[in-house]
Structure formats: structure tokens, C-alpha cells
Symmetry: D2
Subunit: 362 residues, 4 copies
């Protein structure tokens, strides 16, 4: 269980890191949407390993096949299936760890849960499965853009101790894609890049923060009580490997504010009700209010470090391991398109849910 996300725009994924292939089925995509497969390809390229000196050297072209649900470039309203072959899989590097639990990986917990596990590079727990999310999210983005003009922009806002301060009113995907580290502030980006290279040299890894901005989201998305828009965004983000935190709008900083500072006054501008500040982050009572939605995610440092570490094996004996394989010193740059994809999946699902709720013209 656990491989399905969404209530109406619903994605189900499959695949182990070193299995035959990975992929997904998207059910509930509305009909007659134009799907540009070069956009899916472009998003997958932003996520794939081997794209820059900052990422894992595993070479996956991540070329994909669409099996169903689209005819002559348009969605049919039926289930869309996408597969991505695992071409550069190499389980041999993991063979020595088949009976050992790598610290802060999912080896131990999968073994406890299932009594069996795929030791080949993390198996189902590998971040390789996020390629499927990116493919599905790219379709969701196209649905959102065509029907509502929604634009989703994520970027690396912090690496280790180095943080940027990005102006939401001017940030653009173009600015994000200018640097391999995907931080739109060129000077800070350079510092982040240096830090990642230094950490790699030290055979270590480092964490950071990705921020995301969603513009032109129509008011009214999100459901009362449990399926609040921020609740589904939080779930989406915390379902990402290595994500340890989520904050929307004023987030943790807002806990130190007074209500009189934090409240967002309503005004009417050009016949549209807006707020003059946006500490709410575009969501009030779990429902979008038409203002930009923004949130941030904490990513812990990657667990695979090329250093000697203490752990136990499946017999419970103390052992020392020295991981090999192909890994990222910092997941942040590659996380950017994944965060955008998850945001798109949440928004597309709630957009379709809201269509059911819309007051009838009686």
C-alpha cells in the first residue's frame, strides 16, 4: 500500500531502484488537455542524475514511454501510464550491504515491516521513484497551466548554513535554472555550489531548504477539516525521501508574531479581493484565497556518506560499513523539480475536487 496519491487526479507509482523499470498510472486526468511530451522530458532532465558535477554520476537518460490515455497529443480522460526503464542499474555495489543495515536508510525498517527486502540500492525506498512523480507532475502542471494559468516555481533557498533571500514578486524559472544548484540568487548560488563541492571532497553530505511559490491558483481550492490544502501539501512534501519539515506562509517564524502583525487585511483591487500582506501563504481555513501560495521544505543530509560507519547486520552483530555506489552529496538541486511536481499533483487534485463542489447554476 501507499503507492497512490490523490482523490480525483490520482497517481499510482511502482518500481525499485535497480529493477526492470519504474513508472506510474495517472487516473482522473480531465479529457482534451494538450500534453506536450517535451515538457515531461524537460522536467525529467532537471531531476535526472548525472546532470551536473553536483549530482550522482549514475547515468539514466530517463527516457519514458506513454502507453495509454493520450491520443494525437490530447488526453482521453482515461488512465495515462508512463514507464521509465532502469538502464544504468548496477546492484553489484550494494551486494556487500545485502545483510547489513545502512544507518539512516530504510534497510532496517523495510526488513522489520516485510520480513524481506530488496537490497539493491534501497529498492522501493530509493529516491529513484521520484522520477515517476516528476513525470506525473509534469502532466498535472500542464493541466493547471491550460485551465487556470497556474505557475509553480521552486528553488533551493538554503544549503547547509548558506541561505538566500528571494523576492517572490520577481523570481522566475529562468532565474532558477541559471545555476546548477538552482538558487536564483547568483552570488548565494555560487557559495552553495562551493559548499556542496567541499562536502563531497570530505566524503560527506549536506542538507538544505527548498522553497516553492504557486501563482494564479484560483480561490476556493482545499476542503474543510482534514483535506485542507496545506494539509495535502504537507503530506505530499513529507512523502519525499529525506524531507523532515514543511512550513507554509509565515511558518515557524510566524509563531513569534502577534495577531495584530500577522493578520492579512483584505482590500479590493481592480474588482478582485486581495490581502495587503500574505502571512497566510495564500491559504485560509484550508482553502486558497487567490493570493500566491508559498511554502518551504527541510531536507536532511543524504544518508549515504563515503565514510566508515558503525551498524549491525541482519544477525544483530556489530559491523563496520564503508558505502560505495553513486550518490549525491546534496539532494537539493535535484529536489527542485520534484517539489514542483508534488505541488502540481496536489493543486490539480484539488482543482478537480472543487469542480464537484462548485455551486450549481440553478
Amino acid at each position: 500500500m501507499g503507492s497512490t496519491f490523490g482523490h480525483i487526479f490520482r497517481v499510482t507509482t511502482f518500481g525499485e531502484s535497480h529493477g526492470n523499470s519504474i513508472g506510474c498510472i495517472i487516473d482522473g486526468c480531465p479529457p482534451n488537455i494538450l500534453i506536450d511530451s517535451t515538457q515531461i522530458e524537460a522536467d525529467l532532465q532537471r531531476r535526472r542524475p548525472g546532470q551536473s558535477a553536483l549530482t550522482s554520476p549514475r547515468k539514466e537518460t530517463d527516457s519514458f514511454v506513454i502507453h495509454s490515455g493520450i491520443l494525437d497529443g490530447r488526453t482521453l480522460g482515461t488512465a495515462i501510464a508512463i514507464t521509465i526503464a532502469n538502464k544504468d542499474s548496477d546492484p553489484s555495489a550494494y551486494k556487500p550491504f545485502a545483510d547489513k543495515f545502512r544507518p539512516s536508510h530504510a534497510d532496517f525498517t523495510y526488513q522489520q515491516k516485510y520480513g524481506i527486502r530488496d537490497w539493491r540500492g534501497g529498492g522501493r525506498a530509493s529516491a529513484r521513484e521520484t522520477a515517476c512523480r516528476v513525470a506525473a507532475g509534469s502532466i498535472a502542471k500542464q493541466v493547471l497551466a491550460q485551465t487556470c494559468g497556474v505557475e509553480i516555481i521552486a528553488w533551493v533557498n538554503q544549503v547547509g548554513e548558506i541561505a538566500a533571500d528571494i523576492d517572490h514578486s520577481t523570481v522566475s524559472t529562468k532565474a532558477v535554472e541559471q545555476t546548477p544548484v538552482r538558487c536564483p540568487d547568483l552570488i548565494v548560488a555560487k557559495q552553495m555550489e562551493e559548499l556542496i563541492k567541499k562536502v563531497r571532497t570530505e566524503k560527506d553530505t549536506v542538507g538544505g531548504v527548498v522553497s516553492c511559490l504557486c501563482k494564479n491558483v484560483p480561490a476556493g481550492l482545499g476542503e474543510p477539516v482534514f483535506d485542507k490544502l496545506e494539509a495535502d501539501l504537507a503530506k505530499a512534501m513529507l512523502s519525499l525521501p529525506a524531507c523532515k519539515g514543511f512550513e507554509v506562509g509565515s511558518g515557524f517564524a510566524g509563531t513569534k508574531m502577534r495577531g495584530s502583525q500577522h493578520n492579512d487585511p483584505f482590500v479590493r483591487v481592480n474588482n478582485v479581493v486581495q490581502t495587503t500582506s500574505n502571512f497566510s501563504g495564500g491559504i485560509q481555513g484550508g482553502i486558497s484565497n487567490g493570493m500566491p501560495i508559498y511554502f518551504s521544505l527541510a531536507f536532511k543530509p543524504v544518508a549515504t556518506i563515503f565514510q566508515s560507519q558503525q551498524t549491525v547486520n541482519t544477525q544483530g552483530e556489530s559491523v563496520t560499513i564503508q558505502p560505495k555506489g553513486r550518490h549525491d552529496p546534496c539532494v537539493l538541486p535535484r529536489a527542485v523539480p520534484i517539489v514542483e511536481a508534488m505541488a502540481a499533483l496536489v493543486l490539480a487534485d484539488h482543482l478537480l475536487r472543487q469542480r464537484s463542489n462548485t455551486p450549481w447554476q440553478l
Copy 2:
């Protein structure tokens, strides 16, 4: 939609703040569990308004009726329904705001979503509905305690700028309940109390952080990919009114660490595999590893302040409002049992999900 939480242990709630009553149905509770209704009552007492000088003066006894699913004190395995009457409802204070959007409340978004809204004290968006969560969560707690010995302890860790530093190995519910502010550090609790009183005097409100610790959670809870344990915890917490952030284990602080610091080495102690540190927060790869689970939530300051504020009315005209009614200057103390309840709902659901997954004795 949106009123249901959980996949197997499933809670559905109903009710507006000033309607006839509120309540819930719990479906999927396992059979033959002893339910002590005094524990439900005790949890509701911890949440109810009017319990101390720090909370809203609305007087709700929050007495509840169990309608089904329990016979002679034991669960039948069938749906359990609970209702709580709204006894001290007083919509009159809200009448002047029936056509005005209170800033940072859900008035505007509900109107946008549905084209109609219950103006009586926030209606469905009111935090009053969390009483149902507490009742359902109290049953979930009893399931968890009886079947696995799980213990859940939440506390107020920060109010405004005042933060505590609580030792997870010694914190207890008793210590939490010692002070009206529900911070187990008596000195810090006193400071928090002063701050809340000061803020109330200033007709203002203040936010803060609740932390939560879950002990004795068996290894193996949580599902791969989307339904990771921390993802469902994040969703549960961000579904709470006023919650703007969530972090588990090392959280946002962990983003500044190196992998070599952050990894939790495995050791075997008394035949049980444990980790020597717990930056993972008891969850690895989305699945519990048997170590304590801990997380924190950010709450923004309450939106209702007894000060004059600018906003617009339903005609889009600029208006000034000066809220009345009965409100908390700080939700944190009352949020503690609610956070525990939501944690219990997530854990009970995943405990039952894991029973389906358990390897068969073939």
C-alpha cells in the same frame, strides 16, 4: 468533502461551531477493546474552553454521548458514533460580521468556495470541530495503549519568543498537566503564562510551538512512497486550524548538519536493534524503527484580535471591524490534547494497516 481521516481506522466528523451539535463516526476500530469513557471525558476537559484564565470563556461542558459500536464497555468492531451538543452557542456576537470578511479567518475562502457560508462563529472552519478529533483520538489512544503500550505526550514548547528545552527521556503527562499553559518546565511555563496574559491585556494574540513524543511505537508502521508515517503525521497536523508548520526528528535544524553527524548508528541492546542517536525521529524511509517518534508544530497567532481592523464586506466595500465574541489569546495550551489525538489517529490507522502487511506464517 474532507471530513474523513484514515484508511482503516477512519474518523468522519461533522458540525458547525454554533449549530445543533458536533460529532464523529469512528469506523474500523478493532473489536474487543476496552473503552474507558472517563478517559474520553478527561481528554475533552483538557481541550474545552473555559478551563483556565488562559482560554476562551465560552462555557461548553463538552459532555458527549456514545451512540453505537460499544457494548458493555467493549468495542464491537462496528462504527462508533459520538455526539457533543453545542450548549453555549451564541451566534449573536457574529451577526455584525455576517457580511464582512474577518482578516485571516476562513470567511472569505468559504464564501469563494461555496457561494454560501455559515457566518455563526466560523461555522465549519471553527476550531470547535477539534473536540470531535479529541474524542476519536482518545479512543485511538486506548487502542494503542492496550495493544502495544504506545504512550503519546505533547506539550507547549514555545509561546511567542519564549521557548523551553525539554528532556524527552523524562517528560511525562503529569509534568505537562502541572501548569495551565501545559509546558513541563515550570519556570518557562510561568513566563509563557505571563506573556499570554500580557497579550490578552493588549487585545492581541500570540503563536507558538507544540512538541509531541510517541513512545513504544512498534517498528514497521508506515507505508512506502506516499503514505509514509511522517507524511500522514504532517497531514494530520497541518489539518489543524492555525497550524503553519511541521517538523519531525531533526527537522529544519537538521538541514544545517552533515550526513556524518546526522546518521543514526545502529546497535543491538538487549536483543533489540536501536540507534544511538535519533535525528531520524523514529522514522526511516517512512516507516517507524522502534525508537521514539517526535515532532513539532508551528501555530500562528489566533486571528481574532479585539482591535479595529481594515477589511472588505461581501459587496467588496472597505469596512472597519472590531471583533467581539469569546476567543483565546493563545491556542497553544488547548492544542496539546488535540495534537495528541491526531498523533493517535495516525498511529492507530497505521497499526491496523500494518496488520494487513504482516508476513504470513506459512
Copy 3:
């Protein structure tokens, strides 16, 4: 589990036959629908026991309370809760059977499933819970009528060996309600009535068939593959106590036809595409085609007969039982509003699902 029906228009019920009360939550009802509670009352009256000489003498007024989701007669878009008190509950008649398995009841299976059971009149397995379905279905009917003009008419088509042949083009609710047995053919109705009375005198029970016609259902409702409209109708109907069969359109009789007879030719009449015959029963490929939908359900004879019967007790010993209590000799007349309610729940859910699918005006 199992107490929830529907994907968007979603009903969750609770309640045992002799517990405190029964009820339901309807989540996902669209906003701004006028709800006439006298219609709910009328539907409940058609289902309640004690309404005629043909039914159980249990006296339940089945008066109901709406707790939430409706303000000034209009739906708010939020969860609607309804409770119905059990006023004439009398578990004493069941006490002698608390440790015995009544043949063809759910006593044995609930005991096997849960290891505990509510022996008071069938508990959760009692048909008493269908009152909640009728209340929820009455709201669904009002949604369907107001938004699309859908009309749903069910009737008793067969009791024991006595069958009617009803003209779908003229049948009306008024005609159905003319007789206590709810068969719109007066002559056949009289024969059915006699049969039921005879069977009651013989301390026996008898089964039969309910047919149902849904008019003005818009084309396009139903989803490909698993959630076909007839599949959800079948599930809805087979979830009714005592229902053992379902057929839609030509049903079992159609199995003896040739394709050349069975195919429904399309024609255009007044700018609307119709079919000249309707062996499909208004559904093709799982999706409504705009023609009337019709189907039938088989009900077995009621299991409670006032005759001596062989069975075993909870110790597995052979025992003889002679049931008492208040029971119907034939459930068919009371099943009519229940069947209509379930049809309404399916159609309302699929109507809302289809709103999400509707091609966008781009």
C-alpha cells in the same frame, strides 16, 4: 470498516438496532441546494415499521434531527449529520438467543469475524440501519431533482410466485403508493397482499423482486473499467440486507437473446440522440446514455420465522430455537424507499464525479 459509501457524495452510517440511536454523515453534498425536511420525513415514513398490517409491529416514529451542514434550509457544502433515536428498542426478546446462532442471520458470521457481537436484534446487521440510507438518499434525491430533474421510482414487482408486468412509460410514485404492498398494478398488488398475509399466518416469510426506474439521468455518468455505473448500482443493491441478486436492462433474460435482437439502434429525435429499444437499460460501457435506467433486485425470504428451528449455540451444541420479536413476513414493501435511496446515492455520487471530468471550456 464498511460503513462508508460513495467517492464524492459520501455517506457514512452508524448504529445498532437496539442501541441508543442510528444515523449518518453525508459529506460532499454540493452547496446551496434547498433541502425540504418533510421529504426526508416522508421517505422515512415509507420505510418505517408499523406502517401497515404487512409490516413489523415495532413502533418507531423515526423522527430525525439534522445536526449540521444546512442553514436556513440550504446546504452549506459541509458535512450533514442526521440522527434517528431508537425509541421502541426492546432487546429482551433477543436475550434467549444471545448464545445461539439464528439460522441465516448474521449472528454466526459476526461472532466469527469479531469474536464479540451485539446480540440485541442483529445489532449492526439489522435492517434498522437502512433508515439512515433512506434519510441520506432523500437528500441525494433532492440534489438530483434540483440539478437535473432526475426522478427515481421503485416498486414491488414480484412477491413469491406472483409477478407484475409494469409499463415503464406510465409508472408513477403515486401509483406505487396506492397500495400497502407498493405494486402499481392494483390487481396483482391485491394478490401479493393476500400472499403475504397467508404467509404470516403460517408463521413463515416470503421473498420477491423490487424493480426500479431512473428517469432523466444525464448522459455521461459512470466511470470506465471498475466504477461503471451498473457496477456501483450492483454494489449498492447487494449491500442491502436480504438482497441476493441484481440485474440491469435485459439482465438474465438477455442472456438468451441474439446480438441482432439485443442491440439498441441509435436515432436522433428532436436533436437528442436516443435508442429505439433499451435493452442496455440506459447504460453502455458503464456510462449512462440518457435513456431510462432500470434494474431489479432479488430479495430472499426474511430469515426470522416464528417456527421451531435446529441450530447450534456458541458452545457448538445442537439446540432448537423458536424466534420471537417483531418481524416482517416480507420485506418487499418496505424495501421500495430503500432501493430508491441507494439508487439516488449512486447517481448523486456519479453526477458529482462527472463534474470533475467534464471537458474544460478552454
Copy 4:
């Protein structure tokens, strides 16, 4: 939507009849089950076209690829993906009908629903998608057999007017597979075969009935109220293309019985509680009682007949069509493995659901 079936053992399918490929993801399969892929192959062979003179001549080897979820022949507990290529797809035969609605097909309803449709051989509505159900069902069968010894046997019980009367106590898969028509009565099978050949010669088609028997199903499967075991079986079966009816146990014939005849008395035999008759069909109150479960399904005659027919085109003009392509004169023989597969999916799902319900050993 609509492409997912099941609550815990959950199958999601994709694919159009003449697209690139079809397939499915099975999520929630328990870990450590031995999967014999030759059994999947054997079940697919029983369903595939071109297997005998009675079926469509389309030549699909239906060779499949397992992409994930299985390692060294054992399930991992993670999502299992299977794809089946469409090798002998030939949309050209359908080109002339791209703008015409074939009678009693889903052409018109898909167009109405989505405003766009895949005209290539029925697209998503084609029975080709049932190959995915057979593959998934074959895995479900293996789960059921290994964990509980469940055996599922379906057969053709009626073709047109020719019906068999099969003894449930002796019927076997071997007997079913003896004849191409899959009726275990050799004499009746021969008559059915003649009828199908005659109908084919007449360029016509014919319907029939498939019956199914499930042995060794443990008591306790099925959930109260809406998710009764027979309700989910009914949904599963009515979701099959061309299925128009379902009956379980005594079914429609039982409507003519008296309670005194229909009730199944309990007895204890070798320490197991059984019933002396089985009109209930192994299910009471929606929950299995340990007796054999049996049910039947009505299939209408195939809609594609090679005769001239009246219909309308997408402009609403009257047109005559004369279908070509490759079609079955009678779906019944190929439906047998599909019915078994759907039964297996329902039972596997409820088996896993019941594991969550099982009373705890406290």
C-alpha cells in the same frame, strides 16, 4: 477515474485496445508470497483471443513483463507492475466507424462523457483491458491458495437457451478445461459449441451465464453495511464488459421460496460449524460463513455483429454501418478466467481487510 479496484489489495489498470500496451499495478500484496509466473501465463492463455475456433481471431500472445515488486520469485510487499504489449493491434478496421456510434457499444457514451474518444476498437472500453484483471487476479489466486487454500472454479453454465446443471461438490478446473466452451458437462458443452458456431455462421452473437464456486474461504471475510462480501463481488462482476446481472446463493430463484425452506440450519461437524443447506451461498450478513461461496453472472450477446445496422454519426445523421474487425460470437468461454480473477481480487482484498479486524490477543 474508475481504474482502481480494492481497498488494501488494490489493482489499478491502464490501456486502450489498440494503444501501445496495457497493464496494471497491484499495490498492497502481502510480502513473501511465492509467485509462479507460469500460472499467470496459463491464466492469460485461457483468456486470450485466438485460442480456439470459438473466439476472436485477433492474435495476441499476451506475453507479459513484471517490472517491480517481486525479487527472486517472492513478493516484496511493494507495488507489482505488469505490462502486456498490444502486438496485433489493427485500428484500420475501425477507421470507418471513427465518426459513427456502433449500437450498444460505448462509442456514444464516451463521446458524451469526455467530448473526445479513442475510436480504435473501443479504446478503453474494450474487453482487452480484462487481460490486466486476469494477470492481477492470478497473483491474488496465488496469495489466497498459499495462505488459506482457497480454490476458485468458474465455468460456462448457459449459452443462449442451453443450460447445464453442474454438481458443485465434484466440479473441477480440469473438467472445465476439457472443452473449448469451458462447460464441465461434456454433452451440454457440445451443444453450446454447436450453438456458438451456428450463431457465428449467422453473423450474429449470443449471451449466456457464467457460474463460479469459491471453496475454502475462511469465515469472517466481508464488512458490515456497504462493503458486504456479496456487494463487492457484485460490483466486481458488473464491472465486466457485457455483464448485465449477478446472483449469489439462491439468487432470483430464492425469491419464490419461503423462509422455512430457505434458512440454512447450523450443525457442528468435526468441530466445525456448518450449515446443512447453503441457500445463503456461503455469505450471511455480508460476511463469509465458511461454506462454499457461489454465484452466477449474466452476459448479454456481444454488440459487434457482422450485419448491417442503423445508427447515427457524430453529426447526428442517420447512417448504416456494417462492422468489421475481429470479434467473438460469444464471450462466455473467455469470460471464465476473468470471472475467477475478479473473484480472487475481491477475496484477497477482504482477506487482508479482515486481518486488520482480527481480535487482538491481549
